[in-house]
Amino acid sequence: MIMGKRMMALIIALAMFMSPLHALGAPSGFDGGVNNEYEYEEIVFITGKPMKFSGELDVKVSESKSGDTETVKYKYNLTNKDETIKTKLTRQITLVTEYTERDDKGQATAQTTLTRYSEKIDIGKDKYVLEDFQFSKSDVIDRRPAADFYSGNLEGRKYYKLNRDEGEVIISISGGNVGYENFWGSTETQIIDYYIISDRVVTYEDGENEKSCWEGTVRAQVSDSMTKKLIYGENEANFSSFDGGYIRTTNREMVSRYEYDLPRMKDNIPDERRRLKDRINLSAKMVPRVERLVVPKFRDVRGHWAEEYITKLYSLDVFDESPNFFTPEIAMTRAEFTKGVIRACDIRSSLEDDKKTSRSRSRRKELPEESPFKDVKVEDIDYRYIKQGLEKSIVAGVSKDFFKPNDPLTRAQAITILIRALGFGSKAPNPGYYTSFSDDDKIPFWARDSVYVAREIGIIEGDSYNRASPGKIMTRAEASAMLVRFLEFLEKDLQRDYRENIMLYN
């Protein structure tokens, strides 16, 4: 019963049907609040004085059968524990988001509308009731092979009545959000501006009335971020069949900052000359989730400069290797790297679909599948990955008919595959430019954009002679190091860009 009462942040998310906008790593609601598994908290400015409310948040996410409509129900039940006066906030909001997929462009648009709302805030003797709430939100989602990137805008207005006829508070809401989601993490950062107009009548003990009007601004920046990282854990026991192994931890954290400019209030009357300007920070962390991964036992990588990268990727099942020898100094093949990227980014959903399709196809006795490349057979072990890579435009053949799966991988090819997976090729300058590498003339025309972008985002650097070495054959060790750097980009660099680089600099 106690547990039931204090069951504060119950989040029922239908994970299987989650869209990027409500996946892990998206703030709850649009009030700048943060929550962990137990408690939600936000700052309320309706009285002109910042007040921290905390308590239960219940989020329910459901999706229509067709999959193009998502409904999110938020239910808040909060109080301000610091105040000596009685406080209570109850709020219920239902938002419906309709998705329009644009498969031709690899994008989707989402339109969010408010279908139900109610809100009551009791602060001492004052009761604020939400009379009207207008809200509109729209997002565009760019679905790239390795990650979905999205951005949106929202506008709204809340109209509260105070003690029925004592006054009103109008809060105009305007802002936007930006986020990404991939297998290694997701972050959404919202920046929302609130413009508050309050107009009320204050009645003194002697029966005298005074009109109290004030205006204020609040900017809330809130970010919800989930990341997965690999941590090596040593085996404490010596007489064990393995020395240690990797643990994949999933961490989720919300941070928020309110920046406000409000009148200084005394007995509900604003001081005309003095303003209250400050910042309030909130943060909430969830308990990390841990997963042990398989233990690498290679005999030929101990002490190798790339040992850490190789063992990490092995633990993640990125490469199907014999358990004893990785052969780090042998050239990586085009097919192996393609498979590695697809597995490392967990681009598996359509592979699963592929399996199902082939099963149903066999039932229907349709024509056998035809390989897009003459040198890759449908029965080949890597066929599905190559096909997947081709469909997602991560890889291309060396010509229209040939993929050359067993050809050694060059640096230019590896870089191109990674940048295509991110969908960042369009970030390159207009054609007709030189990269800053000293061997720019050696960069193949098809890899130029990728090499440029890869340096800009920090996935590659020049060597001591500032060379990109595009034609250099990559060893399995070098390819592993590049893949691990790519995963770090998906996990760490994106988080920094979508959270720290926005919130700490604004």
């Binding site: 931890t249 007709g432 430019y433």
Partner: protein, 554 residues
Amino acid sequence: MKRLVIIFLTLAVLTAIPLSSGKAVGKTYPGLPLEGYIKEINLTDQWVSVEEYSGRVRRWSLSHNAVIMIDDTPAEPKDFKPGMEIYAHYIRNNITYMESWSTENLGYISPGTKVRSGTVKKIDRDQLIIRYPTGKEETYFTSPATLAVKNGVSVPLSTLYEGDSVRLYFDEKDSPIISRVKIQGDSVKIKGLYKGQLDVTKIADGVLGMKNVEVFQDGAWREFKSVLRMDLSRDLSIFFNGQAQPSGNIKYFRGRTVYLAVKDFFGRDQVEKMVIKNQYETTFSDKIEEINWYGEAFELKNKQNIGFNEGTIFIKNHRLVDAYSVNPGSDAFVVTDGRGKQMSADVVYIYDEDINNSNIGQYYLYSGQLDMVVQNRVTLTDFFLLNRNEWESFDDDKELYYDNDTYIFDLEEMNRITPEQFYTEHYAVDEDSSYARHDKLKSWHVYAYTDGDRIVAIALKKDMDSLLRQRITLGTVDKLEEDPYVGMTVSLRDAQDWSRRNDKWMPKTVPVRMRVEKALLIKDDKVISWDELKPGDNIYSVRDDFEGKFLMVK
């Protein structure tokens, strides 16, 4: 013979010139060349009709494996439109290679889309050396058009410190000229320096546990908490004996003393850098006389030689910096690790602050008597200039300029006055005139905070203060209090007074309290009111005992 030599040389030169950018690198395509305009293109049947420059029109098949490019970028047949000029190669009736041109602005990037993020390593007027997280460094330049933004507000570039985290935006791909700088706000500051016994770490959660924790406050280690948990930054660096340690190794140092530089991350303390003590601690509070960066050692004024290394925590202007940002002559609190004469610095905490954050800023504080005030111009006579924390007197006149944006404050009436009031009223009079003698008028005295010769803010008072009594004090705002008897006061912790005799900052072991109602308060080149001061603000102040005269939020 000569002709042959000339032909041979010409051929040699021509072959040495690389092929123009029209061809893919390292590849030549078979077939004969074809140049002209596309008349028609059929995607279904894969043919293209080309009008050659000669005017001949002919239809060509597009080979299945044809290499097709526009502006050196891979393209598809559907990207080609009638009217486009092409260069192609063909074999029999098949085009094997075709390229065209479309881009108007070659190599163009949208303004502000080239971004660099890093830490300011060195500032030298218009030159910024930026260090990236990878350790690589690059030099960029500011121009008069470079915009700076901090905490979402436009600020002058002079607010920049060495050790600041910045994001630089460029308008052109290869330009080193910065068009915009975003400066990380107060979250870049080191909030606290802690010392404690390492207890447990939860690497999965990124949390560190410590026991018997002390905090560096008011010039010494003070007891803080017996048990403390802190978050670890994702960029945490850990050092032991000058060697970087992987975070997984922390568990082997359980029970050892560690020094932590801690930042604020949305209200939570986060460890940014950790140094694990190896031997025995000694602390010094003295001036660094000389630094040998190559020998990685410095000498204190007391002739003590101390080594430093990559792991040493250098804190200057409340920011983590590297050894190259420390200048000889700096006053520092130094925590060393070692025994006997062999000492290595674990922590070097530089006290020094000045009105200007770097040599970008040309801000000055003047005090003197008004000699003349005319429209947009004032002259001070026998003025004083605050130079290296001391009032320096000049038996001379100083001309300064003001404008409508200058903040002019009458300290007697305690109100802001307009420029018109300033030059029409009796703030500057000819004291020898009969008029002045008759009305017993005297020229007023001022404190003027200027950007070069332009007055940013000027405070006016009838009588001159005794500047000799004044002290320059640094500190961090601990609390603001409205005292019913004296008005608004501010308490500074970690305070230091400048000692003229010792020529160094003297840490105070007790907080300093001062009244700020009559002080000129400056933050980011602007005058602020006292209620805009916040706990945690770092202050550079001029005070006469309890009376604050000038406070600058750093």
